[in-house]
Symmetry: C2
Subunit: 253 residues, 2 copies
């Protein structure tokens, strides 16, 4: 845990943040924190800062907030993922939160096994747990919004056109694509705050009609390089590459 995340209602009018239960026990038993120690803190969805431990009891920690003024850049990537098996889903959720994703859409596709939608890993508290792990690791505060789309067609017809329209660049990862993410001229098109939607298929990839459905609303199919990657590896590689495309100086700068 590299940052202690909290919600507004946990802070008193006097600027005391009170943490109870598991989080408090982790700070006391695992991190072995002591009164007077400084802690990095972050308001969920808001700013970061620091506080100092004012009081400890077995399952309660009180922290006097000292500063809470460091802006955290808003996340600007939307991730669409064909729902993977639960173990991979967990990794993807925490990784996406760590890498600054704004929205995660878990969708059905022809090669997704239907029973994955019944997994306990999709319970809101289980999803939240993985997202929080990612934020706490990455020292981030923006909790991604997660939605589950159990039918492909309504997602494609009702949700996708709006997503593509409000996004600067929409990409569909597809190992069989004829072009590579490096060949789309994206360094010139993306700036530091550009919004990107990224759709990553299931093991075995998207089916051709799925690729066409994405392309019809403006997604560009591309591969991430010459290797066929596991879904969780592809998420890390592609989110890292999108971040790089945003941050590389373009030739005109």
């Amino acid at each position: 845990m590299n940052i202690l995340l909290f919600e507004e209602h946990e802070v008193s009018a006097e600027g005391i943040l009170t943490v109870c239960g598991d989080r408090a026990r982790h700070m006391i038993d695992v991190q072995r924190m002591e009164v007077g120690q400084r802690v990095r803190i972050g308001a969920l969805g808001g700013k970061q800062g620091s506080g100092r431990i004012a009081a400890l009891s077995p399952d309660r920690v009180e922290i006097r907030i000292e500063a809470l003024d460091a802006e955290v850049p808003a996340a600007t990537t939307d991730l669409i993922v064909a729902l993977p098996r639960p173990q991979i889903l967990k990794k993807i959720l925490s990784m996406a939160a760590a890498l600054g994703v704004r929205r995660i859409m878990l969708v059905r596709s022809a090669r997704v096994i239907k029973s994955y939608f019944d997994s306990p890993a999709l319970a809101p508290d289980k999803i939240n747990q993985q997202l929080m792990l990612g934020l706490e690791q990455a020292i981030a505060t923006h909790l991604p919004e997660v939605t589950i789309h159990e039918r492909f067609r309504p997602f494609i017809e009702d949700a996708l056109p709006g997503i593509a329209k409000e996004t600067d660049v929409s990409l569909l990862a597809h190992p069989a694509a004829t072009c590579d993410i490096c060949e789309l001229g994206l360094v010139e098109r993306l700036g530091a705050r550009s919004t990107v939607a990224l759709a990553i298929g299931p093991e075995g990839g998207w089916e051709q009609h799925e690729v066409e459905a994405f392309e019809r609303v403006g997604f560009m199919a591309c591969s991430s390089g010459r290797h066929v990657l596991r879904v969780d590896t592809a998420v890390g590689v592609l989110l890292g590459q999108v971040e790089m495309l945003r941050r590389l100086p373009s030739a005109s700068e």
Copy 2:
């Protein structure tokens, strides 16, 4: 398994590849292959092609090689990783093999827990198993060479200068670095076949004297973005970014 990898001695003078044991059983029981079916094949360290199943018995598959002429670009990235805990090590090995790494050097650093070097995951056959999983996933044939360096100082003094010297660009991933991998002008410096050495630290990062030791032989410290990542996430993100830097067209092209 997206490709069946084999060694030269498994092929007869008549061009029949004979696969036995676990690999054969996987093809028969899991992949449910049948006589006449086409299989993608790859010679370890060599070319890719295809074959057709000529005969099946309970733990033996014979494949007539039809073509073996697709060149696989040689891997050109060397990865130096502070030895992580065994579960993370496994992921890193298969991911590095999948993403086209030439050499993996597992090294000691101040924040590495010494007992990790006694882990059974470091046995040559266990390492090989993870590497093969990565190659089979990624449809690759180049098995990375893995070396273990249990003492930091001899590694830094004896091995590192040679690595830095024979490599086009040497990078040290360091979340606290003042510059970002996007700010080093690497698109101009790297071409498709450039060699890159990439050093990734332990949870908690490299210590300052370690950073300085790498810098003395020419490594450039940089961060991969604004997030503090888990080691396995960092490996995927950074290998993807290095590959992108090699493949993006430079302004002078």
